[in-house]
Amino acid sequence: MTTDKTQPSAVRKAEAGAPAPRTTLLRALTAAGGAAAVVSTFLAWTWTAEFPGDLTVYGYPGGLQLLTLVLGIATGVFALAALDLKGLRWLTPSGSTQALRMLALGTFAVTWFTVIAIAVDLDGLVNLEPGGWIAAVVTAAPVATTFLLPDDSRPLRRPEKLPSWAEILIIAAVFAIGLYVVNYGIQTDADHPEPFLGYLIAVGFAAVALVKAGLISRISELTSSYRSVTLVAALITAIVFPFFQDKSSFTELGVNIAIFATVALGLNIVVGLAGLLDLGYVAFLGVGAYTAALVSGSTASTLDVKFPFWAAVITGGVVSLIFGVIIGAPTLRLRGDYLAIVTLGFGEIFRLAMLNLDGTSGPSVTNGPDGIPNIPPLEIFGFNFNDDHSVGGLTLDSNGNYYLLMLLVTVLVVLIFSRAGNSRIGRAWVAIREDETAATAMGINGFRVKLIAFALGATLAGVAGAVWAHFQSTVVPEQYVFAGPVPPNSTFLVAAVILGGMGTIGGPLLGATLLYLIPKKLEFLQDYQLLAFGIALILLMRFRPEGIVPNRRQQLEYHETGQLDVPGATGLKDSAVGVTKAEA
């Protein structure tokens, strides 16, 4: 995004009082452009229904036109807010121009993407109806006008205090909108990539626009002052999700997201809080899954036992814990990158061991590459997880059942993360991450504290693995690789933590969701998925190294804060990483 600072005097004028007439005109033009974009979506953009989504109808928008419609409305409304229309000013607490630019760019990008996709998919510009041309032109105009607007960024304006019921209502509305947006993305046509790509473009630009307008900061202020309300709202949102899915493939996406998000959050204790780079975390998921499969009573299991589900979960967690301690105890005494190398090795050893414990290369435990299939479906208090259940007229399918079960584990992990993180032991983890020498000089037993973090992370992965084994009803060694196109793999988990934001709860949840959902929806990329993934990570590290959901600490670490005098910052940062004792 370009910050156009050619007219500092205009900026000052705009801040001082009445904006220059030219600014007012440009804002009005932008509003008109938004309105025109809205109108254009009611026209037909192409003549055939071959293009996904029905864009052939005059009179109402469809398919990708909906995205242009929504962004067009947003552009118009924000432009009116920029014109200081009464009742809309709350939309732009920290300035309107940059938000407008993003929205105009988003409208433009989505529309042009659609138009170009029509031309490419259907071979030729001839397939565009006049409506398509009109849309292309009218969405380009606001881009021009918003880039001529003076920048009016300002520090967050404190709005007057709303009554608390209103603030709670706002939180509820935000979660409802969020659920709708996520749902829309999940339910886009899986056979055609265009709707989902358009959705990604639209959501990306809209999200940046909301950040620039200062709305996101406002909302996070609200959510942090109503913590419990927010948590309940988030929980309700997550619980109602499977009831509104009409295809089992959508609820399956939901279960997988829940599982991977939970595992990523468990990894965040190890990586984000204690600063231990664990590159073989997926192996602990595997340990839990294999353990649960072996004691599940599956016909293919070499153990002839059938534990109840709760016992299988505990067994999975405990065996993972034991492996965590075995791996951690010798390596956590060392500093630096040894742990990364050892865990990387452990991840591969686990997979190879599972492959070879087949009765020919080694003792017969895991059936080698065939894995352990036919894990019987869960049944808790007569509630069979493989049957559909109807609650108040809404059907919950098999995946939905597992989704809700997994959600329970997610809540447990969130609880563990927030409670452990905000305590004596959590502070010790962060202190170790920040500067191990200073931490030990403060009386922290580095080895012990690190081992607790590592073992806790392993246990949580084991618990999640036990649930996952039952959901998949089969475990095979090839699921637990270091890197691969299909999650879970260790790279995926570490990337989810880093992408989302280390040390936060929301970060890994969001990171895992994005990293799972986007490749799933863009399967046409096939072999290029990993390439795209790599490029995305590089871009992220360049532009937002603290992750999507920044920890307050990291936000301050990576960006200048405006606070004066940050002495020795580089020295402190240097010494925080892998120091030798000699530097003490």
Binding site: L415, R419, R424, A438, A441, M442, G443, I444, L556, A584
Partner: protein
Amino acid sequence: MTTTTTSPVLTATGVTMRFGGLTAVQAVDLDVHPGEIVGLIGPNGAGKTTFFNCLTGLYVPTEGSVAYRGTVLPPKPHLVTQAGIARTFQNIRLFANMTVLENVLVGRHTRTKEGLWSALLRGPGFKRAEAASKARAMELLEFTGLADKADHLSRNLPYGEQRKLEIARALASDPGLLLLDEPTAGMNPQETRATEELVFAIRDLGTAVLVIEHDMRFIFNLCDRVAVLVQGQKLVEGTSEVVQSDERVIAAYLGTPFEGAPGAEEAAEVEAAEAGATTGATGGATQDEAQRGTTARTEDGQ
């Protein structure tokens, strides 16, 4: 702080630290008594910080032992802190991305014992301990004058306040002995004065202080006793006056004083001083002999 004033809080006996062929600290003995402020001075590279690291368990001394209130300390930093010796660092080592309050709370680590389970279950005991820790931490921030910045990230504090915060964090472990490694480095005279007051206040709380410093005015105002470390060996130890007037100390820092006309007399003086410094470095019987003449309490280098 129940022990009698006669028994020292810190007894370092024959502490020697060798890095391969280099002897950084050689057979240094040092006692610190309760309620005392002891200074440790010496030219750059004399081994002061290395000696500190030996005391706090960051280094395992090649020879010699360190005892706190009569108990020999294991060379593990966290056990040393637990026993009651806290320290600050020469190059500030705060937890940069934690808040000021959190930094001090980390310092409370050894004086609290809530583990993972109590953190997860959040029983009344946990909440009480957490509240008590916070109260004590705020008390210390009040004491060092940082209370109004409790929620700032420590990396955003100005330099002088980072130094203060390091001291507050060290005090959080309720130490019987506080080791300060160049607490006024890079400070202006006002800040140095304030630090001086702070160290006196700490002493008045009943904590003995051992301080490394290059600012001589600061050291001589502050310290009851000063030990001089030159090339890894303790050259002299005594009150400010004794140390200040000891010509070997002056020689170690400055060479010999230049008074009167340069000439044969001057050259002889230089030679004498150099001879003194050399013997000081090599140790042994000659040094012993040289020191017997002074009123200072000196240790030989055996």
